[in-house]
Amino acid sequence: MTDETTTEETPLADDKRERLLNDLSESFGEILVESHLRPHEDVWFRVKIEAWQDAAMVAKGAGFEYFGFLSAIDWHIAPEGRYEDTEFDAGLVEEDDEPVEIDSSTGYGGGDTRFQMLMQLYSLNEQVGMILKADVGDDMTVDTVRDVFPGADWHERETHEMFGISFRGHPTLQPLYLPTEFEGHPLRKDFPLLARQVKPWPGVVDIEEIPEHLEAQLEAEVMAAFEANEGGS
């Protein structure tokens, strides 16, 4: 069990969550990969992908009965979209400001693969939320948790169409939002957002400088007019 509980910043000790973290880590046992705690927030757990369904069951058994949501994260830094066109940001950040640094880590609880499953559960007895994560392997398949939390049905369908992750044991993985003939997985980072591609950014335009060869001439003209004006009055 690699329990690297990272509690770097503890302004206020949170006994309830620490106790919960320890209890749950014990119940998860072998399937737990990593966990993370930030006081007064949800508790993060990363579990093995094979045990995704078991982890949900264990969590439910531990009182996390309320199903919040299920989704995924694509940790890939996009070739399209935001990070390609740094001119967006360059225009927004002022010159003396420090440049934007992109953090390349994969979030709390860590992650080794590009796609990561994400599920939020809540315990009504303890009033504590929990976020379950799991790294999705190359086969892009996870067990369904539909049988544990019936509400996960639609969330899994959404995740399937948006990220292309399949759910083993889910009977109706039809698209939920997108038309049936839609190709691609829109929430993947390499899916271009057309609205930002087809139109040029109006912020690109900059103020037109005075051509250098005209500068001296214009300056003289302005000064001449200024002096004439002064003399007149």
Partner: protein, 390 residues
Amino acid sequence: MTATSDREQMAYVSAQAADARVNVELDTGDMTLNIGPQHPATHGTLRIACQLDGEQVVVAEPIMGYMHRGYEKLCEVRTYPQCTTLINRIDWLGSFANEVPFILAAERLMEVEAPPRAQWIRTILFELSRIANVALFLGDMGVQIGALTPVFFAFRDRERVLNQIEEVTGGRFHPNFDRIGGLKDDIPKGWIEETRSVMVKMRTFCDEMEDLLVGNEIFQARCRGVGVIPPEVALGYGLSGANLRASGVDWDLRRDANPGLSWDQVDWRVWTHPDGDSFSRYWVRLQETREATRIVDQLLDGIPSGPIMAKVPRIIKVPAGEAYISTENPLGEMGYYIVSKGDLGPFRVKIRTPSFNNISIVPWVMRGVYVPDVITILGSLYFILGDIDR
């Protein structure tokens, strides 16, 4: 194929086919009735494909996506201040309430806290948008089951609340007023008194709804025992808000997991109902609206003085990290899971909307009900299309 000579032949054949089909359908085996995408009961573009046996629903399957705008993707290419303008439009009736959890999540990551006056005003506007939102439901539920008048009352009185919101924020539906670290502006002079008188009117409106609908025997006949959701099922499907409390689960994020607004400063209670049917969902919402007017009244008395903006840089960069903050919105638990990479905009935003989970129970709850009950249940679950489709 479409030659004129063929047309008569075609008409004859299709008439024959229509006869045959109708004859088959009359033994009421399985008739598919599409409720929606454009149907008054779906107030938006939700489609519910119902398999009917006579007037009884065998299977009901909601089909959505007609309004999918891809906000999660759009947020990824926007900066944090730009995101709030999108987020306004998720649940368009309770718009200010949408901004709050997003801003709170960003504040949590930046480790800033809004000054007390800002939090106080936030809470007032939050509750006002709850009243505006739920008031429309209180009337709309009437129109769903055939009463024409309540919805006009709702529009009439909601207007007063919207005016109050507009006077502060400048927007009736899209306030875009919440900022990381505080608020855009302070409240104008005289607003507190006006809001107080509006709250009195809203309580009268609640009384009228009580007389028009809740006490009405026909309304009770239509709603009692229709669409019963037991608490354990509600939890499994992730129902939230009044839908969950109507099933007897005493859980309100405002009280139990206050993410930093001023609800703990005032005296109020959480309403629950043990039945879990359509009537109790209506009843709980009616009581909550009343309670919200009480909360607003108390908050108006004690707005602390001080600044409305904490010290934040002008160009907002959120440190790397993840945060999930959810609040008790008019429709239920609305939460944002923000993944930041230390950039001007979020890396990934997962928007957990209440209506999405609330409506996912439809196939479960709509087995064996009658067609009119479909409308009652849809109405009482109370969804906003933008909140489902995002």
